[in-house]
Symmetry: C2
DNA sequence: ATGCCTTTGTGCATGCGTTCACAAGAGGTA
DNA sequence: TACCTCTTGTGAACGCATGCACAAAGGCAT
């Protein structure tokens, strides 16, 4: 029913979670799964699962549930996981090197095919079997390897410049770890992961708890 | 006006962004900043900035703007950044090691004071000046060092067990990189960062673009 | 002191996301 | 075939978040 272009953002961000749950279910030999069970695995409400899945077109069978394999294939189709999306990581500091070694990308259809840094100390080094190339060669590298995803793991100060270079080189989407607001064309989706921010957000809820405890103590006093 | 306990989640998650913008502004020597300028730096709408800041109590001056230093102190207070929050990282694989080396935490008030792994290969190693201790000693370590934040950097299969151990040891909040739905008491806030999921979400928007292009091509054909 | 200009704080309307609740549909059983 | 059970798909209500638009308020110049 709904077109693949019309899926709400909130739903899209849950599809990978459903996907992982499905992989898990399939590995146990189950061939169908109900929205209630899928909801449990994904940690969400069952009605939300059904509504989310309804955006993919209808693949559930009333009284039975969803065909796990079929649903997985459907999600993969929507997420574009049918074809591999080669990745370049820019910035070979601690974070960049860790990402390069991290196996979680390759196995999920996002092979890391290039590593880039702007420092001559790093260029030429071999990390995880890949020779680090220079930022100046970015465009050539991206075009040659048909890279579609750029990961920015540089300090904040360099992020916008790197982002510009990635976009100019033809990268189709960007994942950034830099604590910076990136200006990019609307056609290039960006996701931002900011580790310090996450800790600070936790700080609020942790701190709030302390405040409440202190308050109740004050109240009894 | 509003109590520190009543700040909406969406606002809380933006406070670190405002904070960073303020630090930047202050470093340039400016002492006041308008909501419009802050909005530009933070990449959001000016009205949203004002509404967000109104939850902290009123610190703006009409016709002038906000006192940058005062606002920064106010945000720090809400986020509980006045005191340091010691951190333990569990899981010394690639990601855990990178996080241990990553300087972004220490400088932001989240010193990493302990590293933990369950493998004897890792226990006893010194990473970034810290001796890796065993998961079995977690409770002791957490209590002794008064650790309030736990970072889970283990494979998904171990995450729930580690989470239980962290909670039992008295950790107050958790940041997890494991692609797993964690069951924790409501009193322990959890933030989840899932790198593969981020790439998959990007995949949707990237893929969608392709679909649209293909469609328009088809239409002209 | 007065008036103008700037910027805040917020009421209100709109839109998105979530959740409930139930009708409709599919399959199994007698 | 007819009924019963199970589960989906979705209409509708609710709540949160966003953003506009404007009145209130502070400061500065004259």
């Amino acid at each position: 029913m709904a077109d693949v272009r019309d899926i709400p953002d909130a739903t899209v961000s849950r599809l990978p979670v459903y996907r992982r749950s499905l992989v898990q279910i399939i590995s146990t030999g189950e061939s169908t799964i109900s929205s209630a069970d899928l909801a449990d695995l994904a940690g969400v409400n069952a009605a939300k699962v059904r509504k989310d899945l309804s955006y993919l077109g209808t693949y559930g069978v009333r009284g039975v549930g969803y065909d796990a394999e079929l649903l997985l294939a459907q999600i993969d189709g929507v997420l574009g996981l049918g074809t591999e999306a080669p990745v370049v990581i820019v910035g070979m500091g601690n974070l960049g090197q860790a990402l390069a070694h991290y196996g979680g990308f390759q196995s999920k259809g996002f092979p890391i095919v290039a590593l880039v840094d702007s420092s001559m100390d790093k260029v030429g080094q071999v990390i995880d079997g890949i020779v680090v190339s220079h930022l100046d060669d970015l465009e050539h590298t991206v075009r040659e390897r048909e890279i579609s995803v750029g990961i920015i793991a540089t300090p904040g100060g360099a992020a916008q410049e790197v982002s510009n270079a990635l976009v100019a080189a033809g990268v189709r989407s960007i994942l950034t770890f830099a604590p910076t607001i990136l200006q990019v064309p609307d056609s290039v989706p960006v996701r931002k992961v900011d580790l310090a921010t996450e800790l600070q957000i936790l700080g609020y809820y942790r701190h709030r708890e302390v405040t409440e405890t202190t308050d109740s103590t004050d109240r009894t006093a």
